[in-house]
Symmetry: C2
Subunit: 523 residues, 2 copies
């Protein structure tokens, strides 16, 4: 059977394939019908050539045209929602509702529209004018962006429709999307809608391209190609670190989101107040999407004592009672099981779960482990291993100084959460541990689970290594996520009529905020 | 003789030295008296421990205290100016005036004071409030910063007093400065003034530390140490790339400024108007500080023809007539000569100069080379080699398409300059080449030389690789240079009284700009 076509320079064309692959339906274990190509370098080269051309064309396009493309694409996705949701459901086994149809798809179109609004407003460019010296600067497109999307968000982080895509396009960069091999058909259907938007808005044909897969070797070659401006990657640490080194050795900015165990700390006063409600909140957060979120709480820290035992008994019971959801892939299940085994080998105790669920669907028992701070401090690296799925580990501490020692050993994470008493009962402990946790995480939460990631200008979906590759950037939140794909350009003594419109004395865009001689001014 | 002491945690202490070294006076070729230690790892470890402690102390210090330290240090430098200038003169042979005393030293204290003002104002933190969702973010200190200063600015880029130092401290990070081995005594005298400021303002003792030298191996270990937050480096590409890989493999942000040939393009109309004035401007720029500026014009692009021959004859004559200034070191002279030889080997023609000047002082003849675009296009990599010193290469192009081909092969640079006719005579060519040049350079200039780098909020002293390691950041310009040493921290649902003051509903600092629900607001 013929393999699906790749999207190159506005055309669906036959890949120069070195092999083909099929996705599977994790709900049934079945191999799906469509064959998808693993592209040889010739395909990458074609995409890079077209993207280089498109980068130049995009520079001559108005911000309005970029916004219109993004909005048209969002509307196209909505009009094709049923087919997209069905394809994503088949390839990922994620629930249709609540999730694919009513949460993730609207989130995706919302991101595209927010990116359009940012492109139209232009404030993200941070135009800075030093009028006396006639020096002016702003953020401009960085060049073609290669986006590797993850397995767990077939729409909202997809290389051809997700946050990195929206950010890179809003800046004015072409995108070469590398579809995730677990949901190639969903990616194909999204790319069809993107292409429709390209055609109907007259967008540069090389601005939106997609390959399904490349060899590891060609992946490294792709991210380090001179024609590339920057790279966005969301996925596993193993793959990420290889791409990171290749891109960085070539001097290419690469933004990776790789791993996070998202510690959630329950201070004694919080548990004293309401063990059961909090336990339910934790269980909901751990098991949502079978725990396959980058912000899933993998490490739950509690004070040794009776309240914690009641709490954990509730969690264990709920884990046992709730049916476990299908995982994204059988490979993922193998890795999950290997992770659980590694935690046990590193001295964690298995409380409940710990085995694959028999049957056609790719399921794993909801799994709770536990360890003490003393054990953690003997093997801090091994016991903070990320296990991607419906698994969490409780860590009990005997006192504040143990908790401080644990936090001192904590690696970089996307989030860190502290639940504390509604009164001031926990304030002393909070004040002692907050600075330790704060410097290890991109987002600090109080009294709520970290699994929700709002698309807010104040969001930081980022954090210190190894959660991401640079703690100064966020991959969610607009306009913050855009500057990752921009370069700073300064104009020194350049004649007024040669300046980009946004840097001229007279403002071209009444909605853009600019920093003029140290003051932020609009219009 | 005993080696100079290193500055660790507020104390001058004996280094654990593996060897010692001496600086030389490039004006006389003499070895200078003071021995300076090459520190073993134990010294690095002590500095890292003290810096970690200081990072925590700095978090509890007010922005006012940080500003006061920077201002006190600036005043101390001024009070010690004569000794500092004499030491720098002895170690670098740079002129006292115009340069060390009346340009570089005031620039240095001005940078420290601008950094103080930025610390006091807090706008650099880009506090962002999403009031409805109660999500808030800002830029916070990244942790201890290791700063490697370059050879060519003993004050303004010194690891213990320069732009990276000022930026890192203003953010609230401790600095471990690695003095440049060509001016250790200047660095020592600066550190004395820094220590006085630490003592008189009660600043954390581990916030300002200095080593003179470490082995390459320990340098790599230092930048990749878990206690380090980020690294600033200005220097050669060779050393920079080794540090880059070590830091990046450890997940540490490293900002490097490495090499740049700063193309200056004279369009036909510019030369037609005033060959002699422009030639003088170029000569002044090329020979200032013996061309030892990161923004020195190493590549001058001209249209083939009689005007260019007149222009180049003037430049050649001036190069021959003006006495060449002492270089920073005999090693630098060797590298310079090797660079000239390599350019000649790559087909460049030697017009004038090309030899070391006999005598005790470390001098090299002012050197002009030339090549055609046709030659350049055969060996683009070899013919855009940076040669650090009083050397420049003229490149003649026959027509626009040759120039476009040259620009297409150009690597990343800090600056790019276009001189054009005061009338519209060159507009067509300008419009054709500007986009090609623009994407290769951090700062684009019109009608003036790139050697001046104003400390302006709109400055970009940065650019695409290999000029720097990331095109989104500048090392000169405040507040822009500060965010390199900051991490993004988001607060999600955190109780009001637990927020950093700048993120609370009620503004703590009436001078800070904050982005509240999409609008920039002050006070």
């Amino acid at each position: 059977m013929e393999a699906a076509k790749i999207l190159i320079d506005g055309q669906w064309r036959d890949a120069d394939a070195e092999s083909t692959f099929h996705a599977e339906n994790p709900a049934t274990g079945e191999k799906l019908a469509i064959a998808f190509p693993v592209s040889k370098w010739t395909d990458c080269d074609l995409a890079l050539e077209a993207a280089s051309k498109a980068a130049k064309e995009l520079r001559n396009l108005s911000h309005e045209a970029i916004a219109t493309f993004l909005e048209t694409y969002a509307a196209n996705i909505e009009s094709a929602a049923d087919g997209l949701v069905a394809a994503a459901r088949e390839e990922t086994a994620l629930p249709i509702a609540p999730r694919l149809k009513d949460v993730e798809l609207p989130r995706t179109t919302n991101q595209l529209r927010q990116a359009a609004a940012a492109a139209r407003e232009e404030s993200w460019k941070r135009a800075t004018l030093d009028l006396e010296r006639n020096i002016r600067s702003y953020f401009a497109p960085i060049g073609p962006v290669v986006v590797f999307g993850p397995n767990n968000f077939p729409f909202a982080f997809n290389g051809i429709s997700g946050g990195d895509f929206a950010a890179a396009i809003a800046v004015g960069n072409p995108v070469i999307a590398k579809a995730h091999p677990l949901h190639p058909n969903t990616s194909r259907l999204l790319a069809e809608q993107a292409l429709r938007a390209v055609q109907s808005t007259g967008f540069p044909t090389g601005a939106v391209q997609m390959l399904y897969a490349v060899s590891n070797e060609n992946g490294l070659k792709l991210v380090s190609d001179p024609r590339v401006g920057a790279v966005g990657f969301t996925g596993s640490k193993g793959a990420g670190l290889h791409l990171k080194r290749a891109a960085e050795d070539a001097g290419k900015p690469i933004y990776l989101e790789m791993s996070s165990i998202n510690p959630v700390i329950f201070l004694p006063g919080a548990l004293a107040d309401e063990q059961e409600r909090l336990a339910r909140e934790l269980v909901d957060s751990c098991l949502a999407g079978a725990g396959q979120f980058c912000t899933s709480p993998n490490l739950v820290v509690l004070w040794e004592g009776p309240a914690t035992e009641v709490f954990l008994a509730f969690v264990a019971r709920a884990f046992g009672e709730r049916s476990s959801h299908a995982l994204l892939s059988s490979t993922g299940r193998k890795q999950l099981h290997a992770g659980v085994t590694a935690l046990i080998d590193a001295s964690a105790e298995l409380v409940t779960g710990g085995n694959p669920v028999e049957g056609a669907a790719v399921r794993y028992e909801n799994t709770l482990l536990r360890a003490s701070a003393k054990q953690f401090l003997v093997r801090p690296h091994e016991l903070q291993r990320e296990v991607f799925g419906n698994v969490t580990m409780a860590l009990t501490v005997a006192n504040l100084s143990e908790l401080e020692a644990v936090l001192d050993k904590l690696e970089g994470n996307l989030t860190g959460t502290i639940y504390s008493s509604k009164t001031s009962a926990d304030d002393e402990i909070y004040n002692a541990i907050e600075p330790l946790l704060r410097e290890k995480v991109g987002r600090l939460l109080n009294d709520k689970m970290p699994t929700g990631v709002a698309v807010s200008p104040a969001m930081n979906h980022g954090g210190p290594y190894p959660a991401t590759s640079h703690p100064g950037f966020t991959s969610v939140g607009i306009p913050g996520s855009l500057t990752r794909f921009a370069m700073l350009q300064s104009y020194d003594g350049v004649r007024e009529d040669r300046l980009p419109p946004i840097l001229r004395d007279k403002i071209s865009n009444p909605n853009a905020w600019r920093s003029i001689d140290g003051a932020w001014v609009k219009g």
